[in-house]
Amino acid sequence: MSTLTALARIEAARTGSAQPLATVRHCHLGEQPLVLIPLKLSGEAAAPLAAMVGTARKDPALLVVAQPRNRDLRFGFAAELAALVLSYVESRQAGTETVPTKDGEGRQRYSDAPQVLVPNPGGITFLRLLGRSTRFRRIDGPYPVEASVPLLGRWLTWLCDRAEQPGSSVLMPMTSMLAGHWATGQSTFEDANLGALLGWLDPPEGMTGPQAALRAEDPLLCPPAGPTTDPGFDNEELAPLLAAYDRAPADQARMAATDRLRRALRRQLEPTWELMWRSIELLRALPEGAHVTGRWEGDRESFTHFAEGVPEGFPQAKRDSAVAAARRLIRLERAQDELDVQRALDDPLVMAEHRLTGEAFAGIVVAAQPDRLDTTGKTPKLRPYLQVRTSDPLRVADGDTVHNAGRKGQKALVVDVNAGTVLLELSSGMGRKRVAEPGSVPEVGDRVCFTTFAADFHRSPVLPPLEQTPWTHGGPPEAYVPGDDEAVAYPPTAADALEVWE
């Protein structure tokens, strides 16, 4: 956090309504995100209980496991979820675009990618475990599952892996998305409750933010957004309903018991479903940040690559090898740096954070020499001078290089810093001629912002995606092949047959 964000929170707390932390949307939000709200059985690592899934607010699908301790029913649920998720994934593969390649032939990339939205980070953890528990399943042998089940596991694993990449939009928790764009007058701890968070952002008619948030903390009025259910619901509703299912003597009774269970779980899920779509509306109302498209392109790239490997590939390894883990860490750190810079460039409110710390400054051009030439070298070079007046705290000194936030690739040298005025010498981003391209040099009276970091700062070694490591660099990292380890642990034999579930 920063003083700026802290101030926003304090203002929110004092005024009773949320304060913006962003002026643009920093994540991709597609036409058709797949909203997925999973619920699990308390006390179990990844025993699904129910899920509400869909791409249309009016038409959610409700999946329910009538007895989460029954493995057949659990894998039945996985198969149902697979049908929905896999057809959604397939629908994202409808269009492609051609990406130029060095050999001139070009390759195809999907023009869309899946985007799954869950209520909170716990939802992702659950999907990761569900992915882990399904992707190694066999479709033959002693405990066969439907072919879609291991495939679901592989896609869930891809989504969860990709979600770790800063700036990726393929799988996101709604609480993080909202908290990244607005400050509430409560703590980040309380922001983890989607209902309470949204209460601040969009309180019901006639309520203040804190009132709405308080109301959302009552599990009877606002059931938790999962994946863990409210203990009161477990003890007073779910337990009798599951017992009724177990007791049901015949098919008809079992169906009746399942119906009641479905209705109870629907009541638990529907409020969160509404919260999810209200959140989407709020986020949609924000204009998209300029760099979002580029980051989404990275997601589409990863999606295309993974989809190509699915038919003959193996399920992802249980753990990364040391080398892969290190590479991954570097990649994630780089993505984080890049995201930070891009967000600042896209959004004056984020840039304000950097201005506060002196990593950037903004001001008005008070004097300019747009056609100044540096004649000290053999050939004269175009080096316009700009004098910028700013009230920002300045941490730059003579000789520093700064970057024009408003014009990609334009660098300047700090020549002099004096009492709120900075003299800059522009060195690039003005075209190749001795006279600047029209509009490429800020004019007197213009508002400008210069940063000590640049959008392409980390771009210097443009690395291909890990999967496309060229042969000169050792080729793509070794494909993962299920080894003996798998053979022992997974034909779902030993461990599974020992599942007692009682």
Partner: protein, 259 residues
């Protein structure tokens, strides 16, 4: 007029919320009353939707089923193992829930008319206090040392059970899905008893491995049980020798070492 299932359903949902509300507010009395109302509404719902009551489960003579299983094992056993042995080798259903009140019923029967039955199902006795050991059933006709458990007995009896189960399997040629999990339950936890493949439990190998480990413990175990049995004969009356000493008697058994 009978309430419609839909309206009952709504009332049930309302009552559930009311119960949770009452509990959240700490009002247990109200919660109890509401729960009773809820249960009544649920019963009505079930009658309205399903008609008729539950079919009655067929009552089988539990004590005989337990007697069969225990006789096969020959050592004190917990209900869970008794049920597993029953399921593996005998027909009919034995619900573990029906074992819970068994011991108390047996004791009551013995007290009202001692020795009127050929056998009683009792609790094993702990070697130190000669008190009933929780959750371990024995047959009254077994020798006293067998009915007493000392520190080494849980392991020794586990191994003996394994041997008896393996022998029974070999003798009767029993096999199949019911027996395999039982064999595996033993084999997985006895060194050298499990095969190369998970769930591969060969009764012959189980027999050898269990016998080998039992050899290690049996001396100490038998001696402790024998000593405790001697003490029990000196200090306990007939009923107590079968059903265990209470704390006062237990304290006596420990020579007043307890406060």
């Amino acid at each position: 007029m009978r309430e419609s299932p839909e309206s009952l359903e709504q009332r049930i949902a309302g009552l559930r919320s009311a119960v949770r509300r009452a509990l959240a507010g700490g009002d247990r009395t109200a919660a109890r009353a509401l729960r009773a109302e809820l249960r009544a509404a649920e019963d009505s719902w079930e009658r309205a939707v399903l008609g008729g009551g539950d079919p009655k489960p067929v009552l089988l003579p539990v004590r005989e089923q337990v007697h069969h299983a225990l006789s096969l094992l020959g050592v004190p056993a917990a209900p869970k193992l008794i049920v597993a042995v029953h399921d593996a080798f005998f027909s009919g259903e034995l619900a573990s829930s029906r074992l819970t009140s068994l011991r108390r019923d047996e004791e009551r029967s013995f007290r009202s008319a001692p020795y009127s039955r050929p056998y009683y199902l009792c609790a094993a006795l702990t070697a130190d206090l000669l008190a009933p050991a929780r959750g371990l059933l024995v047959i009254s006709t077994w020798p006293l040392p067998t009915r007493i458990v000392g520190p080494y007995s849980p392991r020794a009896d586990f191994l003996t059970s394994a041997i008896r189960v393996a022998e029974h399997t070999l003798r009767t040629g029993a096999g199949g899905d019911a027996v395999r999990p039982l064999l595996w339950r033993f084999a997985a936890n006895i060194p050298g008893a499990a095969g190369d493949h998970p769930h591969d439990a060969d009764p012959r190998r189980l027999l050898t491995a269990a016998t080998a480990e039992l050899e290690v413990h049996t001396g100490k175990d038998t001696e402790q049980r024998r000593q405790a049995a001697d003490r029990a004969r000196r200090q306990l009356g007939d009923v107590e020798q079968l059903f265990g000493a209470r704390l006062a008697a237990a304290a006596r058994a420990q020579n007043g070492r307890l406060p």
